[in-house]
Amino acid sequence: MSDFTPQELMVAVASREIRDGDLVFVGMRLPILAYAVARNSHAPTARGLFEVGLMRDQPASGFLGTMGDPPNVAGALWATRMSNAMALMAQGEVDLGFIGGAEVDRFGNLNTSYVGDPKKPEVKLPGSGGGADIAILSRRWVTLMTHERRRLVEKVSFITSPGYGDGTPSWRKRNGLPGGGPVAIITTLAVLRFPDGGGEAYLDSVHPGHTVDEVRANTGWDLRLAEHVSETSAPSNAELAAIKRFDPDGFWTRTQS
């Protein structure tokens, strides 16, 4: 249990979402590590696309504070404009995207813009970045988040990056969103998933050392449960070794809250 941090577990779980051969739109922070772990284990032919304007196969050999750091450029397969990376995603060529979220609701909608009235916000969050683009255009996507009641809310007050909207059937299709929508919410406590075709998130697995009750108590809506809620598989030694290799000082996985 205490062999790994919640962040290391999140990275390991996120990496397992990457299928071999996927073109992955790699977001900032933990997803950079998740891509590196996946590429070194079960997804040796995956490729990473970074919105800053990069495509890679091998993960960067040095530590990355941002996707635009020099080690991420060395050995890149393509250094280009952001709009070219977005072009591939707009064409439906991105299999999986990662988005960081400040707030998520039961239908997978993310708010990274405003808490409260946008005209007079209680909290001004940094904004979409490429989040809304990934949410709308990638084939499937995953978000990672600290599990707190104030973050997993009944309904986000502002949809920056749309999931399944109001949760009604075919909401995305009716609204013209080309991509498939969210498939998982990976938190510090659990993994939430969505039914095929989208809709409302349900609790799929609870991380080792935590309980269903604890997860529900920290979720801002009455969380549905999978028929069999399992325990999230702990990171393997290989996964932990890979994480250590790409985050040697624990910048992302040891020192963050």
């Binding site: 800053v52 504070g65 941002t66 750091d69 952001m82 909290v123 490429g130 709308i136 969103l177």
Partner: protein, 280 residues
């Protein structure tokens, strides 16, 4: 040309200025700090994400409007000056035109081609459509209206005095920002002879007709990285995040790192640039 001169001549109060167009790398902090020192006011900032520079300009009271996809501190999170301005109007209130990374690129391409807008399917289903009047739903697409900066300020690795710049690494929205802008100010690590640059005309970033000023500003992107020259100074971003958490902390930071610093060389004298330098 000196940075002070370039900013004084080509960035008036009220200007729309594109900055940080390569996202995390090549952010023209030296130029941004000069804007602060010259007390530029009522600027509209245009960019994709902005790693702390927009936050500093907002905190310094230079900014009337932000037209961007993301404003904060990439490795640390929130932009505290941005929050104070948006939440409390401190030091002044700002207008915010939210974009996504893709939509701000399209807005600049529209301006570059003098198209009124470019239609796209991104933004469908996002509430950003409700807060930015320049993003307009039209049937099954969104019209992203053109954004035309008065000036784009770009940091590059090499440039000659005529504005023939070579930049490398990921370039984000740099090309479209420069083409869309009325004029371009370039700051560069190396002021180079023309011949070696023109030997590779495919690598020239902008037509010389757009470039109004070239400033030799080695280290001018610190703490952001410059491919081939400097790594990112993660600790500097962390320290800025901590300092800027309060208004007083920000003001002290600004005094120490910008207002009391006559120019970039004085700033760099306080940094261990050798520790950041890339040796290949």
């Amino acid at each position: 040309m000196s940075m002070a001169n370039a900013i004084e001549r080509f960035v008036p109060d009220g200007a729309t200025v594109a900055l940080g167009t390569a996202l995390e790398p090549l952010i023209p902090f030296a130029a941004g700090h000069e804007l602060i020192r010259q007390s530029r006011r009522d600027l509209e900032l245009v960019g994709p994400i902005s790693d702390a520079l927009f936050d500093q300009l907002i905190g310094a009271g230079c900014v009337r409007q932000v037209t961007a996809a993301w404003v904060g501190n990439v490795s640390e999170g929130l932009g505290h000056c941005y929050r104070r301005a948006a939440e409390e109007g401190v030091p002044r209130s700002i207008a915010i035109h939210d974009h996504t990374n893709f939509s701000i690129a399209l807005a600049l391409w529209a301006a570059a081609w003098n198209a009124p807008y470019i239609p796209t399917r991104t933004l469908l289903g996002s509430d950003i459509l409700n807060t930015n009047p320049h993003l307009e739903r039209d049937g099954d697409v969104v019209r992203v209206h053109a954004v035309r900066p008065d000036v784009a300020i770009v940091h590059v690795q090499r440039c000659d005095e005529h504005g023939h710049a070579h930049a490398w690494g990921p370039l984000g929205i740099t090309e479209e920002a420069g083409l869309a802008a009325g004029r371009v100010i370039i700051s560069c690590e190396e002021l180079a002879e023309s011949a070696p640059l023109l030997k590779h005309p495919n690598r020239i970033l902008f037509p010389e007709t757009k470039v109004v000023a070239v400033v030799h500003a080695p280290g001018g992107a610190h703490p952001s990285p410059v491919q081939g020259y400097f790594n990112r100074d993660h600790a500097f971003f962390r320290d800025y995040a901590a300092a800027s958490r309060t208004r007083e902390g920000f003001e002290a930071w600004l005094k120490r790192w910008v207002l009391d610093v006559p120019d970039r060389s004085a700033y760099l004298a306080r940094i261990d640039t050798e520790a950041l330098r890339i040796r290949e």
